[in-house]
């Protein structure tokens, strides 16, 4: 019964949503906004032209680079800021000022610096994801339970050993949470960046479909693909939370 409702309820919601969508488009008499079936047709058209896969790969490529670099920079930086007080005092105010600036606001700057190629969106994705990763890694170290630190010191562990064997594993669950949030943001930002700075990718698909002939079936097709891929990315990154070394950090569920 439990299993049945876990499958049935979301399916029912989806079916109702699609029926309402379809009816509203028909009722409004709009010839621009597509019905669900027209969107499916749009997706098929994109697939057959070979654009769908090409654009998905282009977007994922940018996200992989920008997000990957953000992890490589953000995690060590956050650990250092969380552990060394002077580093925190020196850098935290700057980070807190840069952090609330929307990555969208950086688009003109990115184009100025990097021109119209892959570097600009990668830079924007990096910027958007490096702050949540840094801040969550920093907080993870600062909020680490003192008892683990004391126990480690009691056993004579210090220096790099202390980092590797205690501080990093103690902070890891919260770091992974930050990484997960950052990946969601990265996926949001790649679409925005591709609307302006490049000529490929799912964001470009949407803006191009609108500009070149008001093909709203393709616009919504792009949106649906973005949503589905975002879901898959989150499901994938969630697998990190299942490792035995970090499971303890996520409560009893």
């Amino acid at each position: 019964m439990k299993h049945f409702s876990a499958v049935f309820l979301p399916l029912a919601t989806a079916v109702i949503f699609l029926i309402v969508w379809h009816s509203l488009v028909r009722l409004s008499g709009s010839d621009l906004f597509p019905t669900p079936m027209e969107v499916v047709g749009g997706i098929r058209e994109l697939f057959e032209k070979g654009l769908l896969l090409k654009y998905i790969v282009a977007s994922l490529f940018r996200v992989s680079w920008g997000f990957g670099l953000a992890v490589l920079v953000g995690v060590p930086l956050g650990l250092i800021l969380g552990w060394f007080k002077p580093a925190f005092q020196a850098l935290n105010p700057m980070i807190q000022i840069l952090r609330p600036i929307s990555p969208i606001a950086w688009i003109p700057v990115a184009i100025l610096w990097f021109g119209i190629d892959d570097t600009a969106p990668i830079f924007l994705i990096f910027l958007a994801s490096v702050f949540p990763i840094t801040v969550s890694s920093m907080a993870a170290v600062q909020n680490m339970q003192l008892v683990y630190l004391r126990a480690a010191q009691n056993f004579g562990i210090k220096g790099p050993q202390l980092f590797r064997r205690v501080i990093l594993p103690a902070a890891l669950p919260q770091i992974i949470t930050g990484i997960r949030i950052a990946l969601g943001i990265a996926w949001l930002v790649v679409v925005a960046a591709e609307m302006i700075a490049v000529n490929s990718g799912l964001g470009y698909l949407i803006i191009d479909a609108r500009n070149a002939g008001k093909r709203y079936d393709l616009v919504v097709a792009g949106m649906v693909m973005i949503g589905l891929i975002g879901l898959v990315l989150d499901l994938l990154i969630r697998q990190l939370e299942k490792f035995d070394e970090v499971k303890w950090g996520y409560g009893q569920r």
Partner: protein
């Protein structure tokens, strides 16, 4: 008792913390004197918040005394030391390591074979054989506390500092843990300095109970418990020792009410 040769030696120890107002000092410990001999099991009891845990943290090297002399094995305490392991109330077992990795944590510099032998030995001693590959979250509170004790023993610590280690456990588990601790202590000939607010626990465990006063705390009195182990909790000797400590702490157990806590 030869106080000059005691393993843990605390003389005229004071500890103050900065208070809420600027320049204000809160005195937690005042003129504390304490001696523990090698191999002795000493319990420190006192009212909640009296500073007994602060004293243990000073001896363990996590806090520095404000004034006075704190020596262990003849040397002033300057930070924690792997020969003397602290067992924490809130449980310092690392949740990201398996039980065997936790118990072997203090043995990283030893050869793999020796490490393995010691881990196996102490897992058996604390009754956790079969849980080697488990993670702490899969264990009960009492089992996790045993892991922490085994981790200290495996590292071959001479002294265990225990800060209300059974405080978070249920009654039956606490009773069992006390019996286990005594068995291990007798087998291993370690020195144990054990802080608790539970007078009955102290009388069940200790060779000697150090009773502390309210804050600013000092040692009010020491009570030697010369009773054979395992202790009969209904024996006249046990009850007399218990009531004596209750009386020192200002509580009349037979009157039912609380006496003058001063």
């Amino acid at each position: 008792m030869d106080k000059d040769k005691s393993l843990i030696h605390v003389r005229d120890c004071w500890k103050s913390f900065p208070g809420k107002k600027a320049g204000e000092q809160v005195h937690v410990l005042e003129r504390v004197n304490l001696d523990v001999q090698a191999g002795e099991f000493v319990c420190v009891v006192g009212p909640s918040g009296c500073g007994k845990s602060t004293l243990l943290n000073i001896i363990g090297g996590f806090f520095k005394e404000s004034q006075g002399e704190v020596k262990v094995a003849g040397e002033p305490v300057n930070g924690p030391d792997p020969r003397r392991i602290f067992v924490f109330q809130e449980n310092g077992v690392f949740p990201w390591l398996t039980i065997e990795e936790n118990i072997g944590f203090g043995l990283m510099s030893r050869p793999a074979k020796e490490r393995e032998e010691r881990v196996t030995h102490y897992i058996g001693m604390v009754g956790l054989t079969g849980f080697e590959k488990s993670y702490p979250r899969e264990l009960s509170g009492g089992m996790r506390q045993r892991v922490e004790i085994a981790r200290a023993l495996a590292a071959n610590a001479d002294v265990l500092y225990m800060d209300e280690p059974f405080g978070a456990l249920d009654f039956i588990t606490r009773l069992k843990m006390r019996a286990d601790l005594i068995r291990i202590w007798q087998a291993e000939k370690k020195t144990v300095l054990f802080v608790t607010h539970d007078i009955e626990e102290a009388v069940q465990l200790a060779d000697r109970v150090v009773v502390m006063s309210k804050r600013p705390a000092t040692v009010a009195e020491e009570v030697r418990i010369d009773l054979p182990r395992p202790r009969d909790l209904d024996s006249p000797g046990y009850l007399a020792a218990r009531d004596r400590i209750f009386a020192i702490m200002g509580m009349d157990v037979h009157g039912g009410g609380m006496g003058d806590l001063k």
